[in-house]
């Protein structure tokens, strides 16, 4: 299969502007700006069924149509914070196929009427930001960005902005706070960003991978896009495969590919020929899928089917856990992460992640009694539904699911 997003795997120099152009690049943007109304662009994206790749899977075209037409200016923001443990796809796109991502941002900006777009990157992606800055300058020099593009009334500028190490800044309202020069703490919603976002103005935020789909959809049409994937999730997805597999890496595949194909056909199987014990399809924020029956591996990966396994596909950062791993160790890791990353704004999450980490550490180091395990489950369940943003909820996912589905590991870890 030729790639739709990771096109540098067939066209190694696609990161050069001339090569990108020779392969059809920027024609979709030019066509949109010179021949289409913004609403028509939104309709194509709506019809393609494209859903956001940042985790929530929200329909992209619909989000774009929410930009409040009574309040101006509008802003476009690309979320390149990529900090979910197990996720490393946006980085590959930006490093290797940057113009397709930028063209997606440009088409999206035109569609929502934004004249300024910001790309918010995690601080560690400092080199990527510098390289994007150079690409943006090239686009300016060739008249694709700047004032009165192609002689129309449309103007657009793109700027990169670096975060400085905080997972929570991937949450869209925390990202906006951070972009405004504040601590990255989520805002109370409503209002939602499409009505009041950056500097209080309508703001559309999408993930890097979401944007990267857009030029191909505009060039080839919604029907072409829908011919791939499933009815629930049309198109292709970059699966970041990690953990105990032989060939970890990014695999761009149609939605609906099975876990089995991802792990065995593409990922080369489990390390040391062990067997899959659990799957975390959405990185550290996942509920663990218990693989006690081999047929579970035949589940097609889209949002709906993974939900039937009482988990979420999220950003499709698929972490493979084999039968050498004990879950008391695993959740000690995830809880430690969330405790470190909790922004501290609301009590249930701040206190809850603190207490959970205290308990998982005790359990993992063999200092706990059975009552501590029950207490852990209790703390996690108490947090659910009470946190201001999804991070608090995420922190409980691996805990509750592993206690419910892998209880024997915890019974073994506590003193009799």
């Amino acid at each position: 299969m030729t790639h739709v997003l990771l096109r540098h795997r067939e066209i190694p120099d696609i990161g050069k502007l001339s090569v990108y152009q020779n392969n059809g690049g920027l024609a979709a943007f030019k066509n949109a700006v010179t021949k289409m109304k913004p609403g028509e662009v939104i309709d194509v994206v709506k019809n393609s069924g494209l859903r956001g790749r940042g985790g929530a899977g929200f329909p992209t075209g619909m989000k774009w149509s929410f930009a409040d037409a009574k309040s101006w200016p509008h802003y476009m923001v690309a979320n390149a914070d990529e900090s979910e443990p197990g996720t490393f796809k946006d980085r590959e796109v930006m490093e290797n196929n940057p113009f397709q991502f930028l063209e997606g941002v440009m088409i999206g900006s035109y569609a929502v009427g934004a004249n300024i777009a910001y790309i918010y990157l995690r601080g560690e992606f400092w080199q990527i930001a510098e390289s994007l800055d150079r690409k943006i300058s090239e686009l300016e020099a060739e008249g694709y960005l700047g004032d009165k593009i192609f002689g129309t009334d449309y103007s657009l500028r793109i700027y990169t902005h670096l975060g400085a190490g905080a997972y929570i800044c991937g949450e869209e309202t925390a990202l906006l706070e951070s972009l405004e020069g504040r601590r990255g703490q989520p805002r109370v919603r409503p209002p939602f960003p499409p009505s009041e976002g950056l500097y209080g103005k309508p703001t559309i935020i999408n993930n890097v991978e979401t944007f990267t789909n857009v030029p191909m959809i505009m060039a080839n049409g919604a029907e072409w896009y829908k011919s791939m994937g499933t009815a629930d999730a049309p198109g292709v997805k970059i699966f970041s495969l990690s953990g105990r597999v032989r060939k970890p890496g990014n695999y761009e595949l149609p939605f609906g590919t099975t876990f089995r194909d991802l792990i065995y056909k593409y990922g080369g199987g489990v390390q040391d020929s062990r067997s899959v014990r659990a799957i975390m399809p959405a990185g550290a924020s996942s509920s663990l899928i218990l693989v006690d029956d081999d047929s579970i591996l035949d589940t097609p990966m889209d949002y709906l089917e993974v939900r039937k396994l009482k988990s979420e596909l999220g950003s499709a950062s698929v972490i493979i856990v084999d039968d050498t791993v004990s879950m008391d160790w695993l959740i000690n890791k995830t809880v430690h992460f969330f405790r470190h990353e909790s922004c501290g704004k609301c009590t249930p999450c701040r206190e809850g992640t603190f207490w959970m980490s205290h308990l998982t550490e005790r359990i993992h180091t063999g200092q706990a009694v059975r009552a501590d395990v029950d207490l852990l489950l209790n703390v996690a369940k108490q947090m659910q539904g009470k946190c201001l943003c999804a991070l608090g909820e995420f922190s409980t996912m691996a805990v509750v699911s592993s206690l419910e589905r892998f209880r024997e590991d915890f019974d073994k870890a506590v003193q009799a």
């Binding site: 990529e82 490393f88 560690e124 902005h161 975060g163 601590r183 990690s242 972490i319």
Partner: protein
């Protein structure tokens, strides 16, 4: 000397990215310049930036304290930040970290005797398929080092040492 005097063009270029009422957005980029300049963010730099952006020093300090890439103290000149988060840990990151610390005769979080490197455990760096890995945070750059071994890391530290002499 203030940042605006020392790096007028760079500061101007940063300020030009944001609308006038969004001037405060320049805070984080300016903090990166200050840190590049001195290796950490000093009190004087915070005062300087606060004045430049018409905000209080407390607000600046609040932002510095919130983000892990800003440092308020001068530690090792280089920070080797090893990812020991779950996906990397499933691929041997904890063993690597332990061996590296043994080789350097320090514990995680500590600095080598010569003050050259601090070794720290950090969260996911979006390189989970290339574990063991770390980022090398130096005075003016962050570099990723992937598929690492203790041997390769010691070589790298040797090179850093040489470049200091």
């Amino acid at each position: 000397m203030s940042l605006a005097e020392k790096y007028p063009q760079e500061v101007q270029q940063i300020l030009s990215k944001y609308p006038p009422h969004g001037k405060r957005s320049a805070l984080m980029p300016l903090l990166f310049i200050a840190q590049r300049d001195e290796g950490y963010i000093s009190k004087a730099a915070m005062q300087d930036i606060a004045a430049l952006l018409d905000i209080t020093e407390t607000e600046v300090a609040g932002v510095v304290g919130f983000y892990t890439l800003y440092h308020e103290e001068k530690e090792g000149k280089y920070r080797i930040q090893v990812c020991t988060d779950l996906p990397c840990a499933l691929r041997g990151a904890e063993g690597f970290m332990g061996d590296l610390c043994d080789h350097l005769k320090i514990k995680a979080g500590e600095t080598t005797e010569d003050g050259l490197v601090t070794v720290e455990a950090v969260m996911c760096l979006a390189a989970c398929d290339r574990a063991p890995m770390f980022q090398l945070q130096g005075p003016d750059a962050i570099e990723y080092h992937e598929h690492m071994t203790v041997e390769k890391t010691m070589e790298l530290i040797g090179e850093l040492k040489q470049s200091e002499e």
